[in-house]
Every structure is written in C-alpha cells, then in structure tokens.
Subunit: 411 residues, 2 copies
Amino acid sequence: MRAVVLSIGSELVGGLRLDTHSRDIARGLSALGIEVVRHITLDDDVAAIAGAIRRAADEADVIVVSGGLGPTQDDCTRHALADAMGEQLVENKDATAHLQRWAKARGRTVSRANRVQTLLPRGARVLPNPVGTAVGIDARLGGARIFCIPGVPVEMRTMLDEQVLPQLGRSAGGRVMVVRTVRTFGLRESVVGEKLPDLMAPGRRPHVGTAVHSGIIDIHVYASGAPDEAEALVAADVSTVRDRMGTAVFAEGHGALEDAVAALLVERRATVAIAESCTGGLVAAKLVNVPGMSNHLVEGVVAYANASKVRALGVDEALITEHGAVSEAVARAMAEGVRRRAAADLALGITGVAGPGGGTPEKPVGTVWMALADSDGTEAARHFLMGDRAEIRERAAYCALNMLRVRLLGA
Amino acid sequence: MRAVVLSIGSELVGGLRLDTHSRDIARGLSALGIEVVRHITLDDDVAAIAGAIRRAADEADVIVVSGGLGPTQDDCTRHALADAMGEQLVENKDATAHLQRWAKARGRTVSRANRVQTLLPRGARVLPNPVGTAVGIDARLGGARIFCIPGVPVEMRTMLDEQVLPQLGRSAGGRVMVVRTVRTFGLRESVVGEKLPDLMAPGRRPHVGTAVHSGIIDIHVYASGAPDEAEALVAADVSTVRDRMGTAVFAEGHGALEDAVAALLVERRATVAIAESCTGGLVAAKLVNVPGMSNHLVEGVVAYANASKVRALGVDEALITEHGAVSEAVARAMAEGVRRRAAADLALGITGVAGPGGGTPEKPVGTVWMALADSDGTEAARHFLMGDRAEIRERAAYCALNMLRVRLLGA
C-alpha cells in the first residue's frame, strides 16, 4: 500500500509554524508497512487542496489529510474533499449528534459557526473525535481511502492513534515497515558510501540510505513486508553494515554519542576530566546529560581565557607564546593539566578557532586541536571543521567524545 | 511571485526525521513577499522528484529543492532535475574546481564517490557552497527558476541565506511580509497575554502572536503590505510590546539570551566565573558561543561530583552533608568559591535535580538552586522547572543567564 500525507494550514506553508504532523502521520503509516510516497503542505485553498487530493488518489491507496476542519471561515478541507469527489456537502446525522453531545456536556448550545462541522461530502462517514468539536471524515475516491482529521495537535494525535492507524492496520494484512538505524562517527559520508555500494544500490530491498548531522552519519536500513521476513532482511543488512563500519559504529537506534561514551566509562569503571577552550563546556554538558555520570566525570574546567589555561590547568605560558593557544602543545598541556589536577584516569583537552574571527592561513577558522591523556601517555589530533561558530563547536565536541570513545573501546 | 518548496529524503518522507528545512525555506521566501503555495516532501526517487519539479514549474515562479545532492548512490536530485529539464548531466568546470579546492585545502584527493558532485544538467549554473563539497544548482525550466541546495543543515542554511534569498530578493519587488520578534524571559505566557489583550485580538493587523521555547517567550508582530506602510505598523506595535514587557525583553529578532548577557558584560567591562553542577557546562558553553568572550568569561568549573565541589570550589563538606548538594547554601558556596578562585567581578553557582532519578518530596525533579555573587554580596533563587532532563538543564541555564543579565542591567 502507498500513502500520501497532506497537511493544511497557511501558517505551515508560509513557514511560521513547523509541520510536525506529517512526520507523526508518516511514522505511524510506515510502521504499518505502508509506503509513504510524499507529504504535501498546502494553504487553506479549496482548489489547491481538491487538486492535490485528486492527484494523490491516482497514485496512492491511502490519503491522510490533517487540518482545515475547524469552524472558522478559512477552514475548507471539507469543501475541497467534496469538490475532489464531485459530491455535495450534506448534513451528516452522526456529526450533528456528536456536536450536540459535545455542547450539552459543556452546558452550551451549538453555535452557528460550529454548524459547518456537521457537513460531510455525500457518501462519506464520520470518524469520531473524543477530544474536540470537529469530527473526522472517512471517504473514498477511486481506489483510495481518504481520512481527514483535525490539525489541533491533541485531536490529530488522538484520531491518528485511535481511528486512522487501527483501521488501516486491519486492512494492511499483516505487512509492516521495519526500520533500523546504525549510527557512526569518524568516517566521511563518501567513505561510508564506498563501503556499502552493493547495499545502497538503487531499487534494492532493503533500502539503505545515509543522513548526516554534525559529523554523525546515520545509516538507515528499511524494508516493508511480512514482519518476520522484513525483520530478517533488515537484520542481515544491519549486521553487514556494522561489520563494514567497525568501530565507527557507536549506536543502533536513537542512542547519542555521549550515551556510548557514558556506557563505556561505566563498563571500564573509568573516570574522566575535561579541559575545554573553544567548546566552552559543551563536552562536559553533553556527558552530564546522561544520568549517573557523577562518579565518572570528575571535573570539567572551561579555560577559555589564556590566563585561565595557565592558572587553572598549569599550562606553561611559554607554550602559548611559542605555539599559540590553538596548538598541539597547548592541547596536550591542557589534557595533562586537568588530569593531574582532578586525579582522573583519562583527560581531554580541546582548543580551537571557532570563528568567525581569529583565523590565520596556517590556522583557519575550524582548526581544532584536541588531546587525550591517560596513564600510558597523551595522544593528540587535529581537525578542520566546517560550519558557523556553533556548528564548529558542536562538531569539535563530538570529535572529542569520539576520541574518548575509541580509546575506551581499545582499553 | 509564487514558490514551491521541495524537500528530498527517504528519512523525511518515512517520518524518521522531522523536516525543518521546508519551514526555514518558506519563512525566508515569505519574508521576501513570495507566496509559498506548497511544500512537497519526497523520497530519493528520480521519477517522483522529476515529476514534482515539472508540475511545480507549471504553477510557480520559484522552486527551491533541498537534499539529495550528496555523494552516495541514494542521492539523485541532480539526475531528477536533468530529467525534468530534458537535459544531460555534464561535468561542470566550476563544480570540479570547487571540489578540487575543497580537497586541496584539506590535504586530500577528490574521491571517486565525490565526482558525481561535479555533474550538473547542461545549461545549469553552480551555486557556490562555502561550507561543503556539494555545490548547489541554479537552473530554469519554462518560466520557473529552480534552486537545488544540499540538505545538510549548515549547508542548507548557508546557501539559503547567502545565495537563494539574496538572488530572489533582487528580483522580488512590491509587497513584503514584515515580521519582527521581541524576545522575553522571566514572564509566564499567560502574563504576557494579559499584558497584550488589545494587540493580540483576532483579525487585527498587525497580527501579534507568542511562541514559547525553554522558558523564552517570543512575541511575533507581522503585517504584509507595501514595505513602508507594513514596516511602520509593525514598528509601532513592537514599541508598545517593548514598553509593556520592560526588562523582560532581552532582544529583538534572533538574538539569543547569551548575546544580551555578553553585550552587557562588554558594556560594563565586567568579568564572570561560573560553577555548574546539574547544567554541567551548559551556561559556560552558551556564553562561549558568543565571539569575543575570552576577556569576560574568566573561568568555568563543572563540579558535578560532590568531591569536585569541595576540592575545586572550596565548598564546605559539612554544608553538603547538612543541606544536601541541591540547596541554597551550596549554590551560594559554589558561586562564592568560583568567584574567589577566578578573581571575577561576578560569579554564578548552579545546582539542581535534573532527573530522571534523584527527586524527593521536598526537592522534586526540576528543583534548581542558583546563586549570583559579586562585591555587594550573594543573592540566591530557586526554580521549579518542567520537562525531561535535557529540557530542565536547558531552562536552568537560561534562568542563570537571565539572573546575570538582570544584575548587569541594574549595575
């Protein structure tokens, strides 16, 4: 089965508000094994919505429309649906009864404005709405089943979960969409692609695709079909992906890089201290977001000013003068300084040029030196990171966490 | 001018990831007075994307496509564009030069996988990408101008702001949408509403609305029309809003709370030190995200473990035993300790229960104590914050920054 998801609202199409409904509806449909072929976001415009419904009915078996069922003049989804079906809007007894019950329970009378909510295209059925005045609409056009539900978030959610998905689940005949995600850090996207040419071949089942954010590369594996068969196919690919990506893999599913680091710190019973310049506390803050790190993160020092690097971390002032604050020597001295001070097993030092100013030909904006010290000694690495100041700092924080992760893996 | 926004990605259409690009692109286009008629989210599928581009070219003057320009096999936006235009993909010299410069700056060679990124439909032009390997594409089909930009967030943002919107702005002319935002912190949303009942009346022009995130309340004022008239109307409302909100206002536009704090630190030539427990470096990290803070943020200490509060900040162990780590006494001692240690003008101490565990009836999850010390003494405040661990920490960081801001305002 194939589906199209329509979201109606001028605040959505104009970009004033973020459309999260399409994502929620698509996720629900995908989990039933229904292939979502497109989302369309439209203004409250009868002709545009009617046209989109007609086109969607040609290419999909299911159409879910959210929004535009309210009582105000701009709401026109019911009119557009009637147009698309070539039917009249007529009063529906179930809708009227719903509205009367709703008003009565609140000691009100049905307002004139609300009466439009009792109109449905001839032949369409009511989808009950337990949490609002607007009933949903269940209709057919050609071979397609069309569900219209309100855009008010709690009403959308309730009707999606209690009406649309259960009804589709019964007709989906046991097919599901299985999705698993392998999360990696440390490889470039082109390198990931080169390691998976067979799996990522267009048209292959399962489908394997990548998505990148702040240096993290997620590899999604998905297949629809009978639950056991789809699950087995996806599991086989996930296993292949994990093998080929090796230690770049830090999680499956939604786990964050800091979760992987935290789990290793617990497993190895290791303590860590962190000295941060350009990241300014971001590495520590990410680690603290994992509950239970107080026995493992011994101390963090934000030594953004050079004076603080000297006083708080014991970095030799001559090193800064000779090599600059962003240098291998200073990163090493920061890591070793905070490790000594906090008596931690491991320690990170991070110093870089986050921009927008401060770059030089030898050390352009995005140059970040980081060092990791433990009882065996200190290693250092240099990264050239892209993006604006916030993005460079975010990527630097992930690079540092990954450096710690890889060391802990080898421990 | 009318526009269609296309977002490409199977993780988007399947609901695995939220599409924020369509919103960002639509908002940028709307601000230029361009009417966005629809967003369409599609799988990486040549036929589907080519079809959508062709249909969009019939109904719109501008098409902005994000995503599907990467080096892996699933990326097919360039192929789809070529199909829609009925042109061949050919190597583009500007794209090749970009990729070679990119690789050279990083001491690498251009990988085989990346070569596909030098291919453009014949007749299309390169949109420079200063922050990634994938150049954008600027093409025409019928009467429509088509911009394809990468989906990687920082690349999308940069190319939207630096290429697409400026190029369209030059050709727009006429009506515009004027939007200005007044940012406040420290008032509840219901209180903001009670202070602005006349401005927020439905149907009024300009339209005034609020949006809340992590305790920050943004008040948006918008009107469309001729530039001068709309600008004047909006300016009058912005001035009223500022008057009524008083010192709760920290910025207009996109300015962050930390930007306001940083500006005051510079203006007052003040230095600050920060001792963080539950926020774990988040307050320092936010401040470091403002360029030029190295003369003002003297030092940050992440004292998440109690031992670190004692050793690094000189907090009396007896205080922790008697009052608990989350207490007014400990917050005060942390602020005073880090101020002494760093010899700063002002100092913050933050300690709280971020959850999910650790709450008690007297100190439920979300209880955060913070203190601000300066030469006049130390003040403390308690907050009960809502949300999950990350949200509580984020809100606590903003509360602390706001405490500092209000003190600096009064200085």
